[in-house]
């Protein structure tokens, strides 16, 4: 019986597959090869950025903070991202390109958001990739929906600048929770996006969220 059943299911599934003659992967082989090469290079670049290049940008970030009404208020704008603390205590974040995760993390923490920010070379593809992050995921709950929102034009008084924008509501953070932001390059060269930003809740700890 198993053979007949297997043949019938196999025939039906292969009929579906064979009907897709119009489905083609249009990405040239050269792009796949270049992407792999870039990924190898990016691993080194991210490390270098974390250790060295970011230091200069972080100095800009601190300099922009101090002349305001005090550390933790005002707007910090870099090429890669903008952080603006609003009067109600919420913090709006716009990320335009991968870069200076250390500066973004420091700015958010200064604005009262326990945060971990990282730039990764590629989307996680195994449990070990996720475990390598220095944070432990906070259980899924409705709290996540209250902590993050998309900015509205009226709230900002202006249209959102180009980039990935969201608002963090620190008062909605559950006790013992922090924010994790991980930035990734587009999943493949043809993807119609500039970057992917994944945000979530994690258990707050000195190693993870400061």
């Amino acid at each position: 019986m198993n053979d007949g059943m297997q043949s019938a299911v196999a025939r039906s599934l292969t009929d579906v597959r064979d009907s897709m003659t119009d489905v083609h992967l249009a990405i040239p082989a050269g792009q796949i090869v270049a992407r792999a090469r870039s990924r190898r290079g990016r691993r080194n670049a991210v490390l270098a950025g974390a250790l060295g290049i970011a230091a200069g940008l972080t100095a800009l970030c601190v300099a922009a903070l101090l002349p305001g009404t005090g550390i933790g208020t005002g707007t910090v704008r870099l090429t890669a991202w903008t952080v603006a603390k609003q009067a109600d205590g919420n913090v709006s974040v716009t990320i335009r390109e991968l870069g200076d995760p250390a500066g973004l993390q420091r700015t958010l923490r200064a604005d009262g958001v326990p945060a971990s920010v990282a730039v990764k070379g590629h989307l996680p593809n195994s449990a070990s990739d996720q475990e390598s992050l220095p944070c432990r995921g906070y259980p899924v709950s409705s709290a996540r929906l209250k902590v993050f929102s998309r900015p509205s034009v009226s709230a900002q008084g202006m249209a959102s600048p180009p980039g990935t924008a969201f608002v963090i509501h620190p008062s909605a953070l559950p006790s013992g929770a922090g924010v994790r932001i991980v930035e990734y390059p587009p999943p493949h060269p043809n993807a119609n996006i500039r970057l992917l930003v994944v945000i979530g809740l994690v258990y707050a700890s000195s190693q993870c969220t400061g």
Binding site: M1, N2, G4, M5, Q6, A8, V9, A10, S12, L13, T14, V16, R17, S19, M20, D22, V23, H24, L25, I27, A29, I32, V33, R35, A36, R39, I95, R96, H122, L123, P124, N125, S126, D129, Q130, G137, Y138, P139, V140, R144, F148, S160, G163, T164, F166, R180, P187, H188, N190, A191, N192, I193, R194, L195, L196, V197, V198, I199, G200, L201
Partner: protein, 165 residues
């Protein structure tokens, strides 16, 4: 261009469409399937010395794409992803994906689905499937049987044949 890259590009040219179609059947969304398959081929090139020796390189690519999908899905369950492009595009569907059989395939547990995809859609034998998925051949047979039992309900003609017998 080196010999390895030439060899990989030949493999890519011969396998990419079939891998995309198989993954598309498994995940149901064209853009997602393209992302997953492109990611899997990127990894295949990065590990080409290993993949070229694999008994079923296409199976390796499809398995890697499906594993990546599971990983993204798990992550999505507890995190929110925003892209640099605010306009959302509707999922790209193919008319062939509307069948109840395909829907039932997607409802299968992850391992059953992977076994069905490799054994039936890529026509791999039990041993190659077991090696690709890293499980004993007996487990492959068990997953295949359970998956088939679940899917047969979606093929009325097959049930009719069984009744006639």
């Amino acid at each position: 261009m080196g010999r390895d890259q030439h060899e990989f590009e030949e493999f890519y040219a011969a396998a990419r469409d079939e891998c995309l179609r198989v993954v598309l059947i498994s995940v149901g969304d064209r853009q997602l399937a393209e992302d997953l398959v492109a990611e899997a081929f990127t990894k295949a090139w990065m590990s080409w010395q290993k993949v070229r020796e694999h008994p079923a390189p296409r199976g390796w690519v499809v398995r890697t794409a499906l594993n990546t999908h599971v990983s993204w899905w798990r992550r999505r369950n507890r995190e929110v992803a925003f892209t640099g492009q605010d306009t959302a595009e509707a999922p790209s569907q193919h008319p062939s994906l509307d069948s109840s059989l395909v829907a039932a395939l997607r409802r299968l547990p992850v391992h059953q689905r992977a076994v069905i995809v490799l054994r039936l859609l890529l026509d791999m034998d039990t041993a190659a499937t077991a090696r690709t998925l890293g499980m004993p051949t007996g487990t492959v047979a068990s997953h295949l049987h359970r998956g088939l039992v679940a899917l047969r309900r979606e093929i009325p003609a097959f049930d009719d044949q069984e009744c006639i017998r």
